[in-house]
């Protein structure tokens, strides 16, 4: 099991954003874990079907969530996917999606680690 680096999830920044409310952090993680799979599914479908507008929209939504969670690296890849979608660039989308999925897996592990220490 890989150990996530702090830059995957900036806990200090996140706690500062929620006024150190650890309960709220857990709640936000829970919300993310609940809604993330369906968004990822729609994004994957859009990449597979080569639908740049849908890729742009789903990536934008995911980027917003990840930024709020101080998950900068995953947010950056979502932003990259969003740009590819906006610019109708199919090339590179699959690679970016794979990178995104991998990054989010790391993020989810980091979230669990944070929660287990609360």
């Amino acid at each position: 099991m890989s150990v996530a680096t702090p830059s995957v999830l900036n806990v200090t920044e996140l706690l500062s954003r929620v006024d150190n409310d650890r309960e709220l952090v857990s709640e936000l993680f829970f919300i993310f874990k609940s809604v993330f799979p369906s968004h990822l599914q729609r994004l994957s479908d859009a990449v597979l079907k080569q639908q740049p507008k849908q890729v742009e929209a789903e990536s934008h939504t995911l980027k917003g969530m990840l930024l709020n969670l101080s998950a900068a690296r995953a947010a950056a890849i979502a932003s990259e996917l969003e740009n590819l979608g906006r610019e109708n660039k199919i090339t590179g989308m699959s690679e970016a999606l794979t990178e995104f999925q991998s990054e989010v897996e790391t993020l989810l592990l980091q979230m669990e680690s944070v929660e287990s220490h609360q």
Binding site: R17, V18, D19, D21, L24, E27, L28, I31, F32, V35, A57, H60, T61, K63, G64, M65, L67, N68, L69, S70
Partner: protein
């Protein structure tokens, strides 16, 4: 203060909700632009809003445009939340009617500071509206009695006569004059005279329906317009109004005073081509007739008072009720 959050991202919505509740706001949270516009366009809806740019059904800028279309609403201070950071996006957002924007992820300190700016603007707007309403009230109402002033009641009379003429519905004009007012002033002073006028105004207002009009026409004269006043009921209603003053003494700072009034009444649905001034002259003559007949009574306009007597002969006749 009530604030609306509109965001389809549940994480952002919850984060905003919690941050703002902690800051003392009364939060209303919705998930899409249509629901946001509906909330903000309510008369008692939130006057402060945080709108996500990208939302289903109606995006943030479209919500701003919808709200700005409603001219009868109080000012709504709207902040767009966006992860868009391009200058063109910002220009588009502000051009749609937003007051400010914040980029995601927001900093809670900055968010609260910007909302305080919004509150200051809304507070200022509230004070301006209040000042305007005060000025409007002062310009249209008599300062002593708070009834419509002469200019307004005469204007309303003109409008009601036009309506009565157009719709062929009867309207009654009542000119009331407090009897022996000068002796009250001379004996007890002007402050007591003012108390009498204030109480007379209050009783007159209480004795009419919500859609009738009462105004201070002159010193101790009051003009009343009874809309849709059935010809058969006009004498009874005039009598009730007269008795609203005479039946119970007016409580003043020098003790109770018996106060009465004389009243001239003109009532018709057939106004002919007479001007408001001519009608007022007629009803004034009727009021003086009531005075001459002994005061504390009602006199209806005489047909012969009218330059176009055929307009009034069928419906009006002088009638002393007491």
């Amino acid at each position: 203060m009530k604030i609306l959050i509109a965001d389809d991202d549940p994480i952002s919505r919850r984060l905003l909700e919690k941050t703002l509740q902690r800051a003392g706001y009364d939060v209303v949270a919705v998930q899409n632009g249509m629901a946001a516009a509906e909330q903000l366009c309510k008369q008692d809806g939130p006057r402060l809003a945080l709108l996500d740019w990208e939302m289903p059904e109606l995006d943030g800028p479209a919500v701003c445009r919808e709200v700005r279309k409603k001219k009868d609403l109080g000012y709504v201070y709207m902040i767009l939340l966006t992860s868009k950071g391009l200058k063109t996006d910002i220009v588009t957002g502000l051009g749609s009617g937003a007051d400010d924007y914040l980029t995601k992820p927001f900093d809670s300190g900055e968010l609260k500071a910007r909302l305080r700016t919004g509150q200051r603007i809304l507070h200022l707007e509230g004070r301006l509206v209040e000042a305007r309403e005060n000025m409007r009230f002062k310009a249209t109402h008599d300062s002593l009695t708070s009834l419509f002033n002469r200019g307004v009641i005469v204007e309303l009379l003109g409008r009601e006569i036009s309506r009565s003429r157009r719709e062929r519905v009867p309207t009654a004009i009542l000119l009331c004059d407090v009897d022996n007012f000068k002796p009250i002033n001379d004996s007890h002073g002007h402050l007591v005279g003012d108390e009498v006028l204030q109480e007379a105004a209050r009783r007159l207002l209480l004795s009419v329906r919500s859609y009738d009009y009462v105004g201070r026409y002159g010193g101790e004269e009051f003009l009343i317009i009874l809309n849709n006043c059935d010809p058969a009921s006009a004498p009874r209603r005039a009598e009730e109004i007269r008795r609203s003053l005479s039946d119970n003494p007016v409580q003043t700072s020098v003790g109770p005073l018996l106060v009465t009034m004389s009243m001239g009444v003109h009532q018709t649905a057939n106004w002919g081509v007479r001007t408001v001034e001519e009608l007022l002259h007629q009803v004034d003559s009727a009021m003086y007739a009531a005075k001459a007949a002994g005061r504390n009574r009602i006199s209806f306009t005489k047909p012969e008072n009218s330059p176009l007597a055929d307009d009034v002969t069928t419906t009006e006749a002088e009638q002393s009720v007491r």
